[in-house]
């Protein structure tokens, strides 16, 4: 009996996972004003798997509310955020939005963290005719529903975030481009499509694929994959990674003593506060990644945002998580649209946002009919131990540096 129980358990537990539930509520206290405040409902992952990024989003939202209220609010009304914890659960997030709209009677809703939670939440908002301006749901699941109320406040959909790298490679003289490439990718809707898109572009341009594989999310050991890649000796390694596997991939490459001429990872190297400590500060140089935001970016309101963030939360500009900027941008969009149309009526807001361009700390945004942003992400690269945007040229702070130096250089 025990053996049977255990055997079943062993087989089934691979997908196991539970999140502790805790409900917390926060709000940015409004000043006393005569007009009723604008109530904005936001479900955030303040506990569970996404609690860290959820808290960055919370920082961004609260900072925007504080900033805009200090300026007199939106349309002369103070902004009041009603933030509810969803414990990183998509079901709870959807329930929270249902409650915001039907019980709290909020004027507006802002998006939660991640595609997983944004997709069902956007559907709830759509049902009630609410605009769903959201900072972190950029995966296919959000756009596949083809909802007209979604507006993703990053420069590009997640799966297109690597296009900027592929385009930069194509901008190089043919003699300097990689001739061969390897594409290891995480089995994840936000990771492998990024590598696939880059592969499509590079193969068309004649870059031969010498290795491609998908690995499961529970893969902790990247060394067998890297030993196979090293044997194929590619000029470029393009990893469709998330954070943990990205770190493991770099460490395995270092241990295998294989340093390609070009190394692009979709995620991992784009966390300036985390990456050097995970892979060794001496191993970061020459590694590319994509990012939607950068502290030094000259986007509308960005210098003021960075200054206000550091003042409010401490730390340095370099340590600000893009998640805070993405959430701040949501508020900026609302501020701009309200100013333009003189209303926060959701139907009018949705109609207005489908036209024109909208200045935010994430850049000047515009969306297609289903809320996909029409810009492109930044190509970032570690140069001299620091992360810099290196493309597109008009926003770059340094020129791309290649070929990648060997490990430890």
């Amino acid at each position: 009996m025990i053996r049977n129980t255990l055997a079943r358990l062993a087989v089934l537990m691979g997908a196991g996972g539970l999140a502790a539930a805790a409900a917390t509520a926060g709000s940015a206290a409004p000043r006393h004003v005569s007009a009723a405040p604008i109530k904005i409902g936001i479900s955030l992952s303040l506990s569970g798997d996404f609690s860290d990024p959820g808290k960055f989003a919370q920082q961004g939202y609260k900072l925007w509310a504080k900033t805009v209220n200090a300026k007199g609010g939106v349309l002369g009304r103070q902004v009041q955020l009603i933030i509810q914890d969803d414990a990183s659960s998509p079901t709870q997030a959807a329930t929270n939005y249902q409650n915001f709209i039907t019980k709290n009677k909020v004027d507006l809703v802002f998006g939660p963290f991640s595609t997983l939670l944004s997709a069902p939440s956007a559907a709830v908002a759509h049902r009630y005719g609410y605009a769903f301006i959201e900072p972190a749901g950029g995966g296919p699941a959000v756009f596949d529903e083809k909802l007209n109320n979604v507006f993703f406040t990053q420069p590009a959909p997640v799966i297109e975030s690597g296009d900027v790298f592929a385009n930069w490679i194509l901008s190089l003289p043919k003699s300097q481009r990689p001739k061969t490439a390897a594409y290891p990718a995480l089995d994840d809707p936000f990771s492998s499509p990024i590598a696939d898109r880059i592969r499509g572009i590079l193969e068309k341009a004649g870059v031969k694929t010498v290795y491609k594989s998908i690995y499961a999310s529970e893969t902790t050991d990247m060394t067998p994959i890297v030993s196979k890649i090293a044997a194929a000796k590619p000029d470029a390694i393009i990893g469709g990674t998330q954070a943990g596997d990205g770190y493991a991939l770099v460490k395995a490459l270092v241990q295998a003593k294989y340093s390609p001429k070009f190394l692009f990872l979709a995620n991992g190297p784009n966390s300036p506060g985390e990456f050097p400590s995970k892979v060794g500060a001496k191993n970061v140089n020459g590694i590319f990644s994509a990012s939607d935001w950068f502290p030094q970016a000259r986007n509308p309101g960005n210098p003021a945002f960075v200054k206000a963030y550091v003042k409010a939360y401490g730390g340095t500009a370099a340590a600000i998580d893009p998640g805070a900027a993405e959430a701040f941008a949501v508020g900026q969009v609302v501020e701009a649209v309200a100013k333009k149309i003189g209303s926060i009526d959701n139907t009018k807001v949705i109609a207005a946002l489908h036209k024109g361009t909208w200045p935010t700390v994430e850049g000047v945004l515009s969306w297609n009919a289903i809320g996909q942003p029409q810009g492109q992400d930044l190509l970032v690269e570690w140069i001299g131990g620091k992360l810099y945007p290196v493309a597109p040229a008009k926003v770059a702070l340094k020129k791309p540096f290649f070929p990648k130096p060997g490990w430890g250089k």
Binding site: G14, D49, Y215, D221, S227, K228, A256, G280
Partner: protein, 291 residues
């Protein structure tokens, strides 16, 4: 061929660490019939302790085994006394699943609050070094981890075969009733053994953090692998767990290289299912007799 040999080297080195983790799990099961599904979480807890010792006090992660292991032994003894000992009756084994699962979730929750959910790696200066031997790459930390695991498993086997406590443990595994009749203090043996099982997780955790990035949720993947290993090795058999761990390490690595990485984690379960069909008692397990 070069790739295959390289994969086998990687698999054996990884298997050694799995063996250390699984030895504690199978030891506890052998003595108490308790399935400690918190073993993975305890490994991760030890990885965090070792990480904290390295980050704040600059204590080498391999040296930290000497601190983390006794500390976690005490924790294991406390867990057994508080949560596990009170489980009695025919459902005790099944109930132990719930109790230890709750413990795992509790550990995960506390670690998430203290250390957040971002990935951590313990990175001593030699973390990225590797030797090239006949053209094959052998990572220093993985070899150190393998050697540390082998030494600890050897010490565990000495303890079980050459000491009075070890004789009591083996007697309790073979026939608890007879052992008690002959004067073995079953409660004491169970408590100390649980502590010993947890301390094996602790030692493995200290080295795990040097090799893999981890976060509080990493224990889910770990425990599913460990349960597969102890079932494959034969429940309660430490030798079986070691052989199974090495086998699984090599199979996982070979599948990643020769077939596809996406199948490598799943290969654990395929091997398990096949084994359960052809030899349900595992490699070294004894067939249960039924009346």
């Amino acid at each position: 061929m070069h790739e295959v040999v390289q994969a086998v080297i990687l698999g054996v080195l990884v298997g050694g660490i799995y063996a250390l983790m699984a030895s504690g799990l199978t030891l506890v099961f052998g003595i108490m019939k308790v399935i400690n599904v918190a073993q993975g979480a305890l490994v991760i807890l030890a990885a965090y302790l070792s990480y904290a010792l390295f980050s704040h006090l600059h204590i080498d992660p391999f040296l930290s085994i000497l601190i983390v292991t006794p500390a976690m032994f005490v924790l294991g003894v406390a867990v057994q006394l508080i949560f596990v000992r009170s489980l009695r009756g025919p459902d005790a084994s099944d109930l132990s699943l719930l109790v230890t699962w709750a413990l795992a979730l509790g550990i995960e929750g506390v670690l998430s609050v203290i250390f957040k959910t971002t990935f951590r790696v313990t990175s001593p200066s030699y973390a990225d070094n590797s030797w090239t031997i006949f053209g094959y790459q052998v990572s220093e930390v993985r070899l150190f981890a393998f050697v540390a695991s082998a030494v600890l498993l050897f010490l565990l086997s000495l303890l079980l075969t050459r000491s009075r406590f070890g004789r009591s443990v083996r007697a309790t595994v073979q026939n608890p009733t007879a052992a008690t009749l002959l004067g073995v203090d079953a409660n004491r043996v169970q408590t100390l053994s649980f502590g010993l099982g947890v301390s094996m997780a602790a030692a493995a955790g200290a080295v795990y953090g040097v090799i893999y990035p981890f976060n509080p949720g990493s224990h889910y993947d770990l425990i599913s692998r460990l349960l597969s290993i102890v079932v494959l090795g034969g429940l309660g058999s430490i030798g079986g767990a070691v052989v199974a761990a090495l086998t699984m390490g090599v199979v996982e690595s070979l599948v990643a290289v020769e077939i596809a990485p996406v199948w490598s984690s799943f290969s654990f379960f395929i091997v398990l299912i096949v084994f359960l069909l052809v030899r349900p008692q595992g490699i070294f397990g004894l067939r249960e007799r039924t009346l």
